[in-house]
Symmetry: D2
Subunit: 343 residues, 4 copies
């Protein structure tokens, strides 16, 4: 239809990849044990373990969504007086309705630079927390890719690991868009290297092809004790946990998970290129599947007639930053359509 809207609003706007839907449908007649104790979940855990590299043990749990993962994991690892350090732009700080604080823990912020946390800022927060009248910083939260779609390099992650070691912090990486990060040209490391740096991270499925599902990987084995109790207590232990195993297996098989992310990144790069050619500048470099052009006010109104996207921030003299998000479903036609409409 002519008036069909093009959707660049986010990467969770369609049910899921056909391979995922097919896998679920194929198991329709099978009977499974509950709560993730099934063979499909076991297989998905093995596949992920395989990606972590030889000799690395990890505890792997499947949950339904990112906020659920963050609040369950962070509250599981912290004592009541311990706090999280996160960038001021962090999803847990701004966009999860105080979920971490609702479990009793303060989130201390550092100013993000290009979406990223700097080791020196983490160190400063730790140094300023000196006694029992203040919370005790205990965990560093970052996301990869960042909220701006930028990608930490191995050197950057290593410097954060180092400050965590010095300051006695756990290192947690929110991987809602980890597939996009690992498939980015800006990424100079593999999953197994990430697993060597983080205490805990998760591999996001919802934003990259699954109906729903995130795989939490606890690399630091001191943190694994009784974790399933915490998942259950927060309502995250899906009775049909096998659905998570079935879906992850479908996407991890043959590396489809990374291929889809690569497709989305390529689409974002193409869109960026086209916008740059038209003279637009950007809030930040496009490093994964998010594009942040700065556009004039009147362009926004026009675009909104045909395209779903997000106005990212208020206008300044250069214009208004908006956000386009691509996925494996983004087509060249859609990109051309956007480029045709924008001036």
């Amino acid at each position: 239809m002519a008036n069909k809207m093009i959707n660049f609003r986010n990467d969770y706007n369609s049910p899921g990849h056909p391979a995922v839907l097919r896998a679920v449908a194929e198991c329709a007649g099978v009977k499974y044990p509950g709560y993730g104790t099934d063979a499909a979940s076991e297989r998905a855990r093995s596949q992920i373990a395989g990606l972590l590299g030889p000799g690395r043990c990890a505890d792997i749990h499947f949950l339904a969504g990112g906020t659920q993962v963050n609040l369950t994991a962070l509250s599981a690892f912290l004592r009541p007086h311990e706090a999280v350090i996160a960038p001021g732009s962090a999803h847990i700080y701004v966009h999860e309705t105080g979920a971490i604080e609702a479990t009793g823990h303060k989130v201390l912020t550092v100013p993000p630079v290009n979406g990223k946390v700097r080791a020196e800022d983490v160190r400063a927060v730790c140094k300023s927390h000196t006694d029992e009248h203040m919370v005790k910083p205990r965990l560093l939260y970052i996301s990869q890719t960042t909220e701006l779609g930028t990608v930490y390099t191995k050197a950057e992650l290593s410097s954060l690991r180092e400050v965590c070691d010095v300051c006695g912090l756990l290192f947690y990486i929110d991987g809602a868009r980890l597939g996009y990060a690992l498939s980015s040209e800006y990424c100079d490391f593999e999953l197994r290297e990430l697993a060597g740096l983080a205490d805990v991270f998760y591999i996001g499925g919802t934003k990259n092809g699954l109906l729903f599902g995130e795989a939490l990987v606890i690399c630091n084995l001191k943190l694994t004790s009784d974790f399933r109790f915490l998942v259950k207590q927060h309502g995250g232990l899906l009775s049909k946990g096998f659905l998570l195993g079935i879906q992850f297996t479908a996407l991890l098989e043959g590396g489809l998970y990374f291929d889809l992310a690569k497709q989305a990144n390529d689409a974002a790069a193409k869109l960026t290129e086209g916008l740059r050619n038209k003279g637009f500048s950007f809030l930040t470099e496009t490093e994964s599947n998010q594009v942040f052009p700065i556009v004039p006010e009147d362009a926004i109104k026009r675009l909104e007639e045909n395209i779903h996207f997000e106005v990212w921030a208020g206008a300044d003299e250069k214009g208004t930053p908006i956000r386009f998000v691509t996925t494996w479903l983004t087509t060249d036609e859609e990109i051309e359509a956007v480029l045709g409409m924008i001036r």
Copy 2:
């Protein structure tokens, strides 16, 4: 195959009904707004509203699982010092890892009689809580069907409603198996009558054909304010909320939801009849899709070779109560097989 196990362990052991899987697959190419603000969710809400009867307004929310619903709803409605009254066998009391207490609220118990709560016991708990040194009872939690598969009659629910009114309690009905209750021959009322008695209840999907999903119905409009904030804070606001709308619509369409439950109840009745004919007695009457025969110790070992089921309680002189759960997938052959194996 000869060694294929028959599964009577629970009602959430298979992915979902074909109509549900089909509905999801058919929407694979569609793009939706997030977080349940889509047309599919809107349609499912309308279908449920239609079941509540004319002139009844209610606030309807879709969530992924029962524990999630219980903890979100109960903690949304209570101030910090307010407590829940529930039967000692309640799912929230025994089987949700202290999820309600984790939100800060005490659960006070009354002894269940045939799985059910009696009004006089509720009144006694309220009377014994007299001042600010004790928690303040504020909400009555029951489940329909009960943990024993029994079904509250309209008179029973009305007497509970009455004690709630007298004691200033909200009345909450956990409907993880509400479909089975409403389709039971022992049930003398319809959904719209339930909606007139409860302040809040939910319609369970996971245990009756959905991949996952529960529909929370807030009938008392004083309780609806800001509810989505609470859902988000507890990690229950599914980004692909449209999946819940699509699924519920598929089952509610044409009453399939109730037909499936009826099928399961019929299977349970047939199994009960067969067992009774063989001379078995029961822990309780079979009123829905759960059957609790009391069997000799040696029968358990033999059954476990071919059948998944649950040992419900310790043995006494009459034998050991076990539990068989039926679903829309239960076949006559499976029932015959059980009857053939048990002596």
Copy 3:
């Protein structure tokens, strides 16, 4: 004056012992560092350490009240899914407005026998908690004296210690009335032996001569880490912490703390003897400073005209149990007066 009421209602109805008031007054001109880091607090900690016996290290903290101590300590020692086992009559279960649950933890109950917990009941609760769908019992709470004023013997405490070891439980003793217990003729052990059996306990001051103040003794050194953070977070870190040190020192000096308790116990014994001679029976043996005679309904009305006391429970065919609590202030005249009034 003729119409002055005699007060047997509780053991916290007067400001404090003259020695305590004098000690505070004498320090009026002194300047102290805050938050219990002062020399007076240090001295009180040394005095208590001295009572624990040679070679025992313990972490000692002073707080203002019993509920504050209980909620701070228990929540400091437990992870979110871990639960407390306590008698159904426990102060934390019945009379602290859900303070423990407000910190997120379930309290599981066992039926008290003569006010006391039995090891076999604790074991049964632990055995019935089998997996991640249920909370994990982690701490046994009892009080010494019990809510009925009875006193655990060394053998009883040892059997509870044993079940704690077997079941992986911490052993916590609420000592709001520990002085009365240790000064009781029914007590066959000393404080240093208690310190060898419990992981944590506290020595109650408010109910035995202090203006306010309890001394928490953490014997299990694995539990001491960062404890002051928890105290501060719960609002229990008194800025003028030196007041607690000054008061405890005043009472511990020369064993006055135990002498006062002994006086109260003796008064209770005398009152019991008098009542027994008049033919009254008792809810339980008088083992410390609480007396529970069973009296006829009309006696209550008459007594209430001149005496403050508590009606303990509902009437049965034998009469109504009431409670008299004695303190170091209780006089022979007051006892005689009660005996004169009661028939």
Copy 4:
């Protein structure tokens, strides 16, 4: 003695004013009902009510300390998703070990200007919190005097009240040092006017002559329901509540409370004057009992040999800000001594 240290570290370094100690001592023989239900507490409540002006009803509660008051009150008034707005320097944000977050609530900050919150910054925070993915601002917290000892004027408080009305915020004033504020020359209003602007505030006793004790005044009667339950749940319901009533009465009688604060403010003014005459500059104007001179590094070392005070912040090119706090106990000799030592 020659080596006696002079104490300018804080205003809670001595037990209490003689009038307070005397009042407690005089009641040593009296027996009281518990938990603040006594006549002494009632009298203190009446005295405070008298200060609120005619026709103003308020609910008044006595608690033991400021952190206890803050966490109890704020968590009593907020639903789980509601947040507090406070200056980044707020005691609840920096120096209470995450007590507010431990009750589940996020604290959002605005940058303090001269210690004070500006209405426009509050409005901006509210405007940026737009939907259920973010917490909902619901209460504005300030302290009077501020953390820098500055004093809000009536116009400033009125503009904050206005923004609270516009944005649907409750207005809470932490009055740990309210006496100093009301006795300040910089203060252009009286307690009854404050009571007309704030929903809730407290009158701090610990920092101005009491052994311990704060009086919480709930002016907004919609917030009073069941408040004692919350106090008890957080361990703040002192069993010997009468001690708080006795103390407050002693200080409020004849306005001694304000006289003591005035003395301290005068001492601070004198110290400021002396320092200014010696050429020192200040971090901020001295408006109450805190003085913040900026001193050279070597002065600090010398002062520390004889004086207790606090280094307030890191050095910059102008020097290091330090803090002197005065009380009713501060003598001219002590001020002269400081002035003699500092260069």
